[in-house]
Symmetry: C2
Subunit: 178 residues, 2 copies
């Protein structure tokens, strides 16, 4: 059975909506997703890099994120034909472990927690596919990377791109028929 | 650069001494490491399986474990010739994340936390070597497993065995010269 590794933030968990809202409230701005085309928030506002990092470091930031549309149903379907692992760079925000674990148990109860991976450098992951919004994780990945569209990666080329979970479903429907 | 993945409990962290002490205090027994030859504590005392599990579930159980002898110096040496990742089945005890992270930062400050991996099923790990006291993790591992001796695995055969960190040093000194 082939294996799909799936990132959390911006792939199954909508972190951007929440940090944009908290940032705008904190700094009286009206940034939208469109302002983040091709750039991450900390690169767009480098003078507030530390403040932005603080938003994520709050213990419960990751606990109540919205689930990305259709991710639950498509991952449930895929789990019938593939081994599914959730692989998140949680080490970048070491205060996030408990919130991320509880979020996964709540929203993806059909996955075993033995298949959750909190890591940093994702070159440690052995899988056939990796669905991620950060192209850097594909550089040393030995399987097939699928770049999940997020405003910050919109200018990336050179990777197979999936724009949403319905496109992920289509990709694997074709892969299974090949 | 080749990569070595290293387990935590019973390999770099001495969990057994602490849980034996807490178990003996709690149940007025005098079990020693010798009683655990070829068997884990929960299998030796199945009627107290839940109580034993509770010992590990305490939030700070993993925070003050002793470091296994010579593990720091040997891992520091190995990190000059190998990529080192710490790969622990922390998902088996989801209350352990923060304590394990803090313990690693305290005792192995020369390793990057980007190389820490909290997982469950270790078949997700891509590495050339895995040093672990649980032989089950070698079954689907594609690299070379090294069984780190612990009382519970003393009867295991069929794996390359290392009895302590000085033997780990010797193993890799030979591997580098081959």
């Amino acid at each position: 059975m082939k294996r799909i590794a799936i990132d959390m933030d911006e792939v199954i968990a909508d972190a951007m909506s929440k940090y944009l809202r908290l940032y705008n409230e904190g700094f009286q701005e009206q940034l939208t997703a469109a302002d983040l085309h091709g750039v991450k928030l900390r690169a767009l506002r480098p003078e507030r890099s530390d403040d932005i990092h603080e938003i994520f470091m709050t213990n419960d930031f990751f606990r109540d994120l919205e689930v990305m549309p259709h991710s639950q149903e498509v991952i449930r379907e895929l789990s019938e034909s593939y081994e599914i692992f959730i692989t998140t760079a949680a080490m970048e925000v070491p205060t996030s472990f408990n919130a991320k674990y509880a979020w996964l148990k709540e929203h993806f109860p059909f996955l075993s927690d033995m298949n959750f991976v909190f890591c940093g450098d994702k070159s440690i992951i052995r899988a056939d596919y990796l669905i991620d919004d950060n192209a850097k994780h594909f550089e040393r990945f030995e399987g097939q990377g699928l770049l999940f569209t997020s405003p910050h990666n919109i200018l990336e080329t050179g990777y197979v791109r999936v724009n949403n979970w319905l496109e992920v479903r289509d990709f694997f429907a074709k892969a299974l028929n090949m």
